[in-house]
């Protein structure tokens, strides 16, 4: 049996001030799976995602990507390239004067030369339908464009796992559908932290519910969403239109 692409074992984390955030989380994700991590605000979803590429260090248990431990060792930069993390606020991810520079930032850090990095950034922007805005600053983009741009800064490094934190926070229905189509077409392994059940239903095949830093449910998404009692108990609303 080959190791799962992402393996999280007995992961525990508490903040330096002692606030517990994660408690014995275990989760294995196979290549090509699309997993929704559901839960109300403060359930530990963002904290979990930030463990996938070593931004936060576990206080118990661990995370393995393609069988390699995520720790401060020399393999960390490789893991950070493999795990693409898209933050909740696109503004946190678009920090350079132009969009081009933002998108080329990852490849440049991976040692790609300026000419190739620029070429890859241009291709990436075109792929997401953002051609023509590369020279602009992020504050001149619309909310939807900014969300796509943040995604582009991560996709350009060709990650094998994409971890998205509340990707539809600032999108309307059409923007959401566009994102779903895009991600389904690309086929990266996905971990999507969200409380947007409509997004989860459209995008993912499996649902994991986090509550108080623990995994309280992990099953096929359709079955999970059909369990009204469970959704209600853990503060999740059922998807609109039902």
């Amino acid at each position: 049996m080959t190791a799962p692409l992402v393996e999280i074992r007995e992961l525990g984390f508490h903040y330096p001030d002692g606030t517990p955030a994660l408690d014995g989380v275990s989760l294995a994700v196979a290549r090509g799976e699309r997993v929704a991590v559901l839960g109300p605000t403060g359930s530990g979803k963002s904290t979990l995602l930030q463990h996938l590429n070593g931004l936060l260090r576990p206080t118990a248990g661990g995370v393995w990507i393609e069988g390699v431990t995520v720790d401060a060792g020399p393999g960390l930069s490789d893991i950070r390239r493999k795990v693409g993390l898209v933050f909740q606020d696109p503004n946190d991810q678009l920090f350079l004067p132009t969009l081009m520079e933002d998108v080329a930032f990852g490849p440049l850090n991976d040692g790609v030369g300026p000419v190739d990095a620029a070429a890859r950034a241009t291709a990436m922007l075109r792929e997401l339908g953002l051609d023509g805005v590369g020279a602009r600053a992020a504050h001149h983009l619309s909310g939807g464009e900014r969300r796509l741009a943040a995604l582009a800064t991560v996709l350009v490094s060709r990650p094998v796992v994409l971890a998205l934190d509340e990707p539809t926070g600032d999108l309307d229905a059409r923007g959401r559908m566009r994102l779903v189509d895009l991600l389904r077409a690309r086929g990266e392994t996905l971990l999507v932290a969200t409380h947007d059940l409509t997004l989860a239903r459209a995008l993912c095949g499996r649902g994991v519910v986090l509550y108080g830093g623990r995994v309280v449910a992990d099953r096929e998404l359709g079955a999970l969403l059909a369990d009204r009692a469970l959704l209600e108990r853990y503060g999740l609303e059922s998807p609109s239109g039902e």
Partner: protein, 253 residues
């Protein structure tokens, strides 16, 4: 002071905007420094440098009214600051205002300070009108400014827009609660808002830093842009620098 106009200028294709940003920066700086440091009374030299800026403005196809409008704010400040010269420079009084008198050397100095300021200012305004901030930053990087400074500026640029949005939101929220009546209350409000903005700036810096680390940041910001120098550009910059130098020497000779 507003800053939303800064990068809203469509760069008009012209010989000036074709030059690498570092050439534009060096050129404008040399004219500004040349004009600002003219010895008092060197009127012909000031006029010559002024003509040089005018020529560059025409070359860059920047509308003159726009240039003048953008100069007016800083110029008002210069006018205010230099008005004191009229009375503080001792000499023959030409206009007695009771307990102070406008003196002849005062008027001369006022006039010349103003002339120097206008020429230097117009060069600076021409630079920002024809150069977007990312290009300016690229020029500063090429001029070997400390890396800490250029990195801080790159990150500050985006952050500034975000902070200004938050600043406006905070002020609006405070006003909607009827805060800010009376100077003391306004002062408290402003200090509170500034403190809140500072905290948010640092909180965002921390999140941005995580986003940078997540994309492999190891402490160095690499640059993308490449500008090609052509022979005519080198010649143009050299000519400009030469003209400024000759003017400066003649003004002192």
């Amino acid at each position: 002071m507003s800053f939303h106009h800064l990068d809203q200028f469509a760069t008009v294709p012209s010989p000036v905007t074709a030059m690498p940003p570092v050439a534009r920066l060096v050129g404008a700086t040399s004219v500004a420094v040349g004009a600002a440091t003219l010895p008092l009374g060197a009127w012909p030299a000031a006029a010559a440098l002024g003509a040089l800026v005018a020529a560059m403005t025409l070359l860059a196809r920047v509308p003159v009214p726009l240039l003048l409008r953008r100069m007016s704010g800083p110029l008002a400040f210069v006018l205010l600051a230099s008005a004191g010269l009229l009375v503080f420079v001792p000499g023959d009084p030409v206009l007695d205002l009771g307990w102070v008198a406008v003196t002849r050397p005062g008027v001369e100095r006022f006039g010349f300070v103003l002339a120097r300021a206008v020429v230097a200012l117009s060069a600076a305004v021409l630079l920002v009108t024809t150069t977007e901030f990312p290009d300016l930053l690229d020029a500063l990087r090429r001029l070997r400014l400390p890396r800490v400074v250029t990195t801080a500026l790159s990150l500050a640029y985006r952050l500034l827009y975000l902070l200004m949005e938050e600043l406006e939101r905070l002020l609006r929220a405070a006003r909607s609660r009827n805060a800010g009546a009376g100077a003391a209350s306004r002062r408290r409000l402003a200090a509170g808002v500034a403190a809140a903005v500072l905290q948010r700036a640092f909180a965002r810096a921390e999140r941005t830093h995580r986003a940078m680390l997540a994309r492999g940041y190891q402490g160095e910001l690499a640059t993308l842009t490449e500008w090609r120098w052509r022979a005519w550009m080198v010649a143009a910059l050299a000519t400009l620098l030469g003209l400024v130098l000759v003017t400066a020497v003649l003004a002192r000779g």
